[in-house]
Amino acid sequence: MNWFVDTFRTSLGKKFLMAVTGLGFIGFIIVHMMGNMTLFVGHEAFNAYVEKLHGYEALILVAEIGLLSLAVIHVTTGLLLFLGNRSARNVSYTVKKSGGGRNIGSATMPYTGFVILLFVILHLSNFSFVDTTDRTMYDVITATFSSWIYIIVYVVSVAAVAIHVRHGFWSLFQSLGLNHEKYMPALRMISIALAVIVGVGFGLIPIYIGIIT
């Protein structure tokens, strides 16, 4: 297995790890968002969805272990890349100017990533590690978003996710070696569309629950 470990220790190997784990997260957030959309239907629909989901205990356990592994790989590899990149430019430029390549997403990847990590911890403590013996999941959500601070924190965090996805989606294909003029323009557009969908879809939840209803 030496060649295997050695491959993922290289700069390119680390890119592959970021790309594959990132794709896993994109798949997860799409499914997660689709489930959450039941919130807009009403509290019966949402509670029914939660109950149905919790029925698949074994499946959820496998998914949770999978997501945790992805997170460990994505965060550690990302941190190693971030530190490596910082040391590669030991003296920074006095005049910093973009030639037109980078955008808000690409320029902030490590930082939005860090915000997302903190958010995931908060999010799990809000909605995953909670006692729901004498209240429904919907009650937990309305209680959380009765606070202004939580609404703001969630909207800002979702914005960070959207900005991260905006660069991450097309970028993962490039990292895996999938870049051709035939389909890259489409992937770039999907990247922006996905960022908007994720940002609006998740971002509306705290606003809808906390302010509108």
Binding site: T10, G84, N85, R89, N90, G101, G177, N179
Partner: protein
């Protein structure tokens, strides 16, 4: 014919060979013809410096035709200056206005230590090339060129990658000081051609590992390299290198 002249203020990075740190010095470039190249403008400034008994600004240059890859500096935050697809020697002063202040810095990367002022040591690129940027063939009488047929489309792709002059602008422009565009271009230009296929696997294996060992950063797909490359090498060459690396690692 009358030529237009302009006056400029230069902020130039000066750093001595033996010193670990440098700093900016201000100079005035007076009566600079707009027909001059950027390097000719520096020549004029240096003449004045020599005449006044001061040390001239050290900068690399050779062909001054934009094909050798020797020159280069970061001008106002952009590698080879503000003009796209242009080396510093082919950047003309007509692209600047009288009264402009121009900040001139060397390529900044751990893997490119500063030799003096704007001159950096790019031996790291030579080391990467020596680790795999070649083909092995028997010397002797050259075989007929048409013995190995190469399709026009492939030949064009290989040529686009081979346009890389190894100037190091990609490393300078990359926010992570990564050399992936350079290595991608070399892996692509050799790997696309039949003569390069026999060593394709060891080439990408060795060149990537040498690049990593020399302290270049990692690619995060910022695409600054491609927009600042004087030869417009595309990041598709990096994607091709990534594919070659997967193929080489899992076979």
């Amino acid at each position: 014919m009358t030529t237009k002249t302009i006056n400029l203020t230069l902020k130039v990075w000066r750093q001595n060979r033996s010193r670990p740190k440098g700093g900016f010095e201000n100079y005035t470039a007076k009566d600079i013809s707009t027909d001059m190249s950027f390097l000719e403008m520096l020549d004029v400034v240096n003449e004045d410096l020599v005449l006044s008994g001061k040390e001239p600004i050290a900068f690399d240059h050779d062909c001054r035709e934009g094909i050798c890859g020797m020159c280069g500096a970061v001008v106002d935050g952009e590698a080879h200056g503000p003009l796209k697809e242009t080396t510093l020697c082919q950047l003309h002063m007509r692209h600047f206005k009288s009264g402009d202040t121009i900040v001139i810095e060397p390529w900044r990367a751990r893997a490119f230590p500063i030799v003096k002022d704007l001159v950096v040591d790019r031996s790291a690129f030579d080391e990467i090339i020596a680790s795999g940027g070649y083909i092995s063939s028997k010397t002797g009488g050259a075989q007929d060129a048409n013995n190995i047929l190469v399709g026009k489309e492939i030949a064009d792709k290989a040529f686009n990658a081979a346009a890389c002059i190894g100037c190091g602008a990609c490393v300078a422009a990359c926010p992570n000081a990564s050399a992936m565009l350079f290595v991608g271009a070399k892996v692509s230009h050799l790997g696309l051609l039949p003569q390069g296929r026999p060593e394709a696997k060891t080439r990408v294996h060795n060149m990537v590992r040498t690049m990593d060992r020399l302290g270049f950063g990692n690619c995060s797909n910022e695409t600054e390299c491609e927009v600042q490359c004087p030869k417009s090498i595309s990041i598709r060459e990096i994607a091709r290198m990534n594919r070659e690396f997967v193929k080489a690692s899992f076979s």
